[in-house]
C-alpha cells in the first residue's frame, strides 16, 4: 500500500471517529471557547507591546512603533532596581522554600508514631488555606513597632523595636519567612506521596546490611524521590521572574517601596492605575518571555542530565 493510500485511510478513520464521538466535542465546547477567549486572545493582545495604544483605535488599529516601548522600559530610571528586586525576592524565596518541604517530608516519613505524624501534618498544612490578604495582615500585626508580638519579644530580650514594614531591608526576609510558614507543609505532600512509592524491599535489604536510619534516608529515600525533586525544580524555575503580584503588592508601603517594587506590581500601577497600556504590556511580555525561556531550558537540561522532564 502506498503512503498516500495509508494517509487517505487514516483520514477516513479519523472522520468516522469524530462522527461517532461528536458528543465528546460538545463536552469540550465551553472549555475550548474559554481557552480561546480568555487564554489565547490575550496573547493576541500582546501585540500592543509593539504599538502605541489608543482606546479609539483598539488593539488591531493602533499604530506600530517597533521596539519603542521596550526601549522606554530599559531606559527608565527604575529599570535596574525593578529587575534586581524581582530577582532578589524570587531567588531568596526559592532557596528557602524549595528544600524545606523535602526535609519536612523525609522527617514525617520516618516518624515512628503515626498518630503524631497525623497531628503534625494537619497543623503544618493549615496555613495553606489562609488567604494572602490575611497572611499580610498577620505580618503587619506581628511586626507592628508598638504592639507586635515580634517586637515585644525583641524588647523582652533587651533589643529595640524595629519597624519591619517600613524598612526596605526587611521586605525580602518578611516575604520569605511568611512564604516558608505558609507553603512548607503543603509543599511536602508531593514528596510524601513520592516517598510512599519508594520500595520497601530496598529498606529491608538495607536493614539486613546494617544500615541505620540516617544512611537509609540518604541512600534510599532521597534517590527514590529524585525524579519528583527534579520536576518540582523545573516548575519552580519558571517562576523566577514571576514573583506573585498578590503578596508583594499588599506588603508594599510607601517606605519600603525601594525594595518591594517588582515587575508585576509595576505593570499593575503603570497599566491599570496610570493607563500606560503599551508600556505595561511590553513589560509584562518581557517578564513572560524570560519565564518561558527559563522553564524550557531547565526542562531541556534536566532531560539531558537525568531522565526526568516535564514535557
Amino acid at each position: 500500500m502506498t503512503t498516500a493510500a495509508i494517509k487517505r485511510r487514516r483520514r477516513k478513520y479519523r472522520l468516522k471517529m469524530v462522527k461517532r464521538h461528536w458528543q465528546l466535542y460538545l463536552f469540550l465546547l465551553p472549555t475550548i471557547a474559554y481557552f480561546l477567549i480568555f487564554r489565547f486572545y490575550p496573547m493576541y493582545g500582546l501585540q500592543l507591546a509593539f504599538k502605541a495604544y489608543r482606546a479609539v483605535d483598539g488593539i488591531t488599529g493602533s499604530k506600530w512603533v517597533g521596539l519603542d516601548n521596550f526601549r522606554r522600559f530599559f531606559a527608565a530610571a527604575d529599570f535596574e532596581n525593578l529587575m534586581l528586586n524581582t530577582l532578589n525576592v524570587s531567588i531568596v524565596t526559592l532557596i528557602f522554600t524549595f528544600p524545606l518541604p523535602i526535609i519536612l517530608a523525609l522527617l514525617l516519613n520516618q516518624l515512628p508514631s503515626l498518630k503524631y505524624k497525623k497531628v503534625v501534618q494537619t497543623t503544618v498544612y493549615a496555613p495553606h488555606f489562609i488567604s494572602t490578604v490575611v497572611m499580610v495582615g498577620m505580618i503587619f500585626l506581628f511586626t507592628s513597632p508598638t504592639s507586635g508580638l515580634i517586637n515585644k519579644l525583641i524588647e523582652a530580650l533587651g533589643g529595640k523595636a524595629i519597624h519591619f514594614t517600613a524598612l526596605p531591608g526587611w521586605f525580602v526576609p518578611l516575604y520569605v519567612v511568611s512564604e516558608v510558614w505558609q507553603s512548607t507543609g503543603w509543599g511536602s505532600i508531593l514528596y510524601l506521596a513520592a516517598l510512599a512509592g519508594v520500595s520497601t524491599e530496598l529498606h529491608e535489604a538495607a536493614l539486613v546490611d546494617g544500615a541505620n536510619k540516617f544512611q537509609r534516608v540518604w541512600h534510599i529515600d532521597i534517590p527514590g524521590i529524585m525524579p519528583t525533586i527534579v520536576i518540582m525544580m523545573i516548575l519552580n524555575a519558571g517562576k523566577i521572574m514571576n514573583v506573585g503580584f498578590e503578596k508583594a503588592y499588599l506588603m508594599q508601603t510607601s517606605l519600603n517601596i525601594d525594595a518591594s517594587e517588582i515587575v508585576s506590581t509595576y505593570v499593575y500601577k503603570r497599566g491599570v492605575l496610570k493607563s500606560q497600556i503599551s508600556l505595561s504590556t511590553a513589560v509584562g511580555l518581557f517578564e513572560s518571555v524570560i519565564n518561558m525561556i527559563l522553564v524550557v531550558s531547565v526542562n531541556w537540561i534536566s532531560r539531558r542530565v537525568s531522565d526526568s522532564s516535564l514535557f
Binding site: 465528546l24 463536552f27 520516618q110 503534625v120 494537619t122 489562609i130 494572602t132 490575611v134 500585626l141 517578564e287
Partner: protein, 298 residues
C-alpha cells in the same frame, strides 16, 4: 559480633528518632503558635495585648472586638458577595473541568494531542495582566460578578489533574463494552463515569472553592463599586489599608483607637479564616488526594 552491630544500629536509629521528634515538634509549634496567638489576642483585653502580656492564654477575656466586627455592615456584604461568587464560580468551574477533563482523557478522541498541546502552552505562557484587563473591559464584564468568574473558569492545572484521574480510573474496556451495547458518550458519562468520580468531584469543588474564597486579585482589577467587593477586599481595607474609622471613632484617644483597631483585626482574621480552618481537617484527605493525582505525570 552480631549483637554489637545491632546495638550500634539501634543507637544511630534512636538518635535519628530523637532528632525527628524534636524538629517536627519545632515545626508544629512554629506553625501553630501564630494561629493560636491570633485567636487568644482576638478575645483578650487590648491593653494586655498591647503590653505583650498575652502569650499563652487570653487575659481579661472580652468579646468587644467581635461585637464591633459584627456590627460592621461591609463585612456582611463582603461575606454575602464571596458566598455568591464562590457558589456560582465553583459550579461553572466544576462543569467545565469535569466534562472537558473527561473528553480529553479519551484515547479515541481525534484531535486530543492538539488540544492538550494548546492547554500545555497556557501553562508556560500567557497574555498577562494588561491584555486580560483590556479583554475584560471590552467584553463589558468590568465591575460585574462575571469578571471574577469567567477569566478563571478553568484552571489548567486542575484540568490536567482531572484528566489524569479519568485516565487512571475509567478503563478503556468499560467504555468499549458500553459502546458495543449502544451506549452513547453522554449516557456513558452520566451513568458510568460520574458515579465513579465522586472523589475527583470533591477534590475539584474544594480546590476551586478555596481559591474563590481567598482570591482578591480579580476583584482588585475588575471591580470598582464597593458594594460588590468580596470578603478579601473588605479585609484588605481593614487589615492593610487600615480604614477602621467607623468602627473605632467612638474610642477616646488615638492610642486606644489603635489598640481597638488591633483587636478588631485579630477578630477579623478569625472571622474570615475560621470557616476554612475548621472545615479543612475533615476534608484533608480530599485535598491530599488531589495533590497526589497532580503528582503523577499526565
Amino acid at each position: 559480633m552480631k549483637k554489637a552491630k545491632g546495638v550500634t544500629r539501634s543507637r544511630a536509629d534512636k538518635a535519628f528518632d530523637v532528632m525527628d521528634y524534636v524538629l517536627l515538634t519545632i515545626a508544629f509549634l512554629v506553625v501553630a503558635y501564630p494561629l493560636y496567638f491570633v485567636l487568644i489576642a482576638s478575645v483578650s483585653d487590648p491593653i494586655a495585648v498591647y503590653e505583650g502580656r498575652v502569650i499563652l492564654y487570653p487575659i481579661k477575656p472580652t468579646l468587644e472586638g467581635y461585637s464591633r466586627i459584627f456590627s460592621y455592615e461591609s463585612l456582611f456584604t463582603g461575606y454575602k458577595n464571596t458566598l455568591i461568587y464562590t457558589l456560582v464560580g465553583t459550579a461553572i468551574n466544576l462543569v467545565l473541568t469535569i466534562t472537558a477533563g473527561y473528553a480529553l482523557s479519551r484515547k479515541d478522541l481525534v484531535g486530543r494531542n492538539v488540544m492538550m498541546m494548546g492547554v500545555m502552552i497556557t501553562m508556560i505562557f500567557s497574555g498577562g495582566m494588561i491584555p486580560n484587563y483590556l479583554l475584560v473591559r471590552s467584553l463589558k464584564l468590568y465591575n460585574t460578578m462575571w469578571a471574577l468568574i469567567l477569566p478563571g473558569a478553568v484552571s489548567t492545572w486542575n484540568l490536567i489533574v482531572t484528566r489524569t484521574f479519568f485516565q487512571q480510573t475509567i478503563p478503556d474496556e468499560l467504555q468499549e463494552a458500553a459502546e458495543l451495547d449502544g451506549c452513547g458518550d453522554t449516557a456513558f458519562f452520566l451513568r458510568v463515569v460520574l458515579p465513579l468520580s465522586s472523589s475527583i468531584i470533591a477534590v475539584m469543588v474544594l480546590f476551586y472553592a478555596v481559591s474563590h474564597w481567598n482570591s482578591y486579585y480579580n476583584a482588585l482589577l475588575y471591580l470598582s463599586s464597593s458594594s460588590k467587593y468580596p470578603l478579601q477586599l473588605v479585609l484588605r481595607n481593614i487589615l492593610i489599608v487600615n480604614t477602621l474609622d467607623d468602627m473605632v471613632n467612638d474610642v477616646a484617644t488615638q492610642a486606644a483607637q489603635q489598640r481597638m483597631g488591633d483587636l478588631i483585626k485579630y477578630g477579623m482574621i478569625i472571622v474570615s479564616s475560621l470557616p476554612l480552618l475548621i472545615l479543612y481537617p475533615f476534608l484533608q484527605k480530599y485535598f491530599v488526594h488531589g495533590v497526589m493525582i497532580g503528582a503523577i505525570k499526565g
